[in-house]
Symmetry: C2
């Protein structure tokens, strides 16, 4: 799992880290129980501050994607992450995107094909 940061993106660094680890879990590149690099190690690897990585890890822990241990470090959670209000969250984030798509002539079918392709791409 190589984490790649785009420093001049509009997405915050801690969000980029968070997203890439979630993608890694979804794809199976990161298996349950697998150890993650320590916050210091990862921050050194990608050239950012310790706290930037720690913030991403803390967010992942708060949603039970990973577990963090003061002595053994961070690792992918052995349990399934909380469902939480995922459908509500998706709806809230998808609504402006669907509106954009409609305005710019992207049909429902094209939109669904894109989503389907992303599912396939991640699950590869």
């Amino acid at each position: 799992m190589v984490i790649k940061i785009v420093f001049d993106a509009d997405t915050p660094i801690y969000t980029q880290i968070y997203n890439q680890i979630v993608i890694g879990i979804a794809s199976g590149a990161l298996q349950k129980g697998e150890e993650l690099p320590s916050v210091r190690r990862l921050s050194a690897d990608i050239g950012v501050n310790l706290h930037t990585v720690n913030k991403a890890y803390a967010m992942l822990r708060d949603e039970s994607f990973i577990v963090m241990d003061r002595r053994s470090g961070a690792s992918i959670s052995a349990k399934d992450p909380e469902m939480g209000n995922i459908m509500q969250q998706l709806e809230q984030e998808l609504t402006p995107m669907v509106a954009q798509a409609i305005c710019k002539g992207v049909t429902r079918e094209q939109f669904n094909e894109l989503c389907s392709r992303l599912y396939s791409s991640i699950l590869s």
Copy 2:
């Protein structure tokens, strides 16, 4: 078209304004050529600063959703908005969401049903 702002949301006010107008255009609630309230009027209506509304309008104008005239005010563009790189933009924004969905047990079919429902909801 009533614009409703949630002041304690994590979404910036200008983004909320931008999104709701895009949704209005997508749904047909805002027709081509229709006049929008002036930046001063809208800012007074929703209780925010002039520049906050102006920033949202400027973003909408930059993507040719609306046209702004120094003398006649702002109105919905008569032309179709630029396609731009909408598919690429959607893919970039959808990828982390699909990964989240996969991790939290949302199937491809459930995801597509949600998108389809949002299409129907907006086009109502």
